[in-house]
């Protein structure tokens, strides 16, 4: 801190901010970790129902959303590289792409959930209640886990909008970009969780 004569009057601790973000990420990992644990136990006890439930899901949409999230993770990382190099315009473009992809992800989710709900495949839905205990568990977990994940996407969109404006207003720039960096970390976490949700719900038969 003392070597940076520039900002001696401003209280700033980027490393501390980042450590705080990581601690938050760890709590998030454990939150989803416990949901994965619940999933693993119920799957172990209802293997057939979980297999059939998984076959109901659209692998194409799941794969598409996976690729979208991976691309958005790369673009937010590129946005950080850009701001570090002082390339404000690049940073805004990459962040804008990330924001757009996040919205598209949710739109896909809307169609995906919408189709299921239309058939009565939602918690408490008639079509679902007629099926066995295991299938109800599968779809319960599906909605809870992808739902909490979607909530994180929504929060990410809010963060992107805020950071985008801050970059535009030159509040975030090449020597002060911890907000963008932490937002990036958060977004990678969202990606990380989806990396496990995708095979567990869509792929494994």
């Amino acid at each position: 801190m003392e070597k940076n004569a520039e900002h001696t009057h401003v209280h700033r601790d980027d490393e501390g901010d980042k450590l705080g973000m990581w601690l938050f990420i760890f709590t998030e990992l454990l939150l989803f970790g416990m949901l994965f644990l619940v999933y693993a136990v119920y799957r172990y006890r209802n293997p057939v129902a979980f297999q059939l439930g998984g076959e109901e899901l659209d692998v194409f949409l799941g794969t598409l959303n996976t690729v979208l999230l991976l691309v958005s993770s790369a673009t937010v990382a590129m946005s950080i590289s850009a701001i570090q190099k002082g390339l404000k315009k690049h940073a805004l473009v990459f962040l804008g792409i990330t924001l757009l992809i996040a919205v598209v992800f949710l739109v896909n989710k809307y169609f995906e959930w919408g189709a299921k709900i239309e058939y009565g495949f939602y918690p408490g839905g008639e079509a679902l209640l007629e099926l066995g205990h295991g299938t109800i568990l599968f779809f319960g977990l599906y909605y809870v886990m992808t739902g909490i994940h979607a909530l994180h996407i929504l929060i990410g969109i809010g963060l992107f909008i805020y950071v985008f404006q801050q970059i535009r207003a030159d509040k975030i720039h090449s020597t002060d970009y911890i907000w963008l960096e932490n937002t990036g970390l958060y977004w990678h976490l969202v990606d990380l969780i989806w990396i496990f949700l995708f095979p567990l719900f869509y792929l494994i038969h």
């Binding site: 801190m1 070597k3 601790d13 980027d14 490393e15 501390g16 980042k18 450590l19 990581w22 760890f26 990992l29 454990l30 970790g33 644990l37 693993a40 136990v41 172990y44 006890r45 692998v59 794969t63 996976t66 690729v67 991976l70 691309v71 993770s73 790369a74 990382a77 590129m78 590289s81 570090q84 190099k85 990036g184 970390l185 990678h188 976490l189 990606d191 990380l192 990396i195 496990f196 995708f198 095979p199 567990l200 792929l203 494994i204 038969h205």
Partner: protein, 94 residues
């Protein structure tokens, strides 16, 4: 706080990482059509683990940041795996 200049990853390196992640996703989807039976889950989780590792090391910058983050992350993963192990140890012998 950070003494030296921060490590700046190039656009190119991000694109390479992304390409690797997409290839792994493709492999993961392709493998499920092979009907591996019980191996299915193991293979899918191994690939997901590899992808998660790539995201953590490169996108989340663990490779270039303070090693403290890496140590904490590994600890969190170990705690999770232990809980998973203990839980299944219980369920397997019921």
């Amino acid at each position: 706080m950070s003494q030296e200049k921060p490590h700046i990853s190039s656009y190119r390196s991000h694109v390479f990482v992304l390409a690797a992640l997409i290839v792994l996703t493709g492999i993961s989807v392709a493998v499920t059509t092979l009907e591996l039976g019980r191996l299915d889950t193991l293979v899918a989780m191994l690939i997901a683990g590899a992808k998660a590792g790539i995201v953590l090391v490169w996108f989340m910058h663990l490779k270039f940041d303070n090693k403290l983050y890496t140590i904490f992350t590994v600890l969190v993963i170990v705690v999770f795996l232990l809980v998973l192990y203990v839980t299944f140890f219980d369920y397997s012998y019921r």
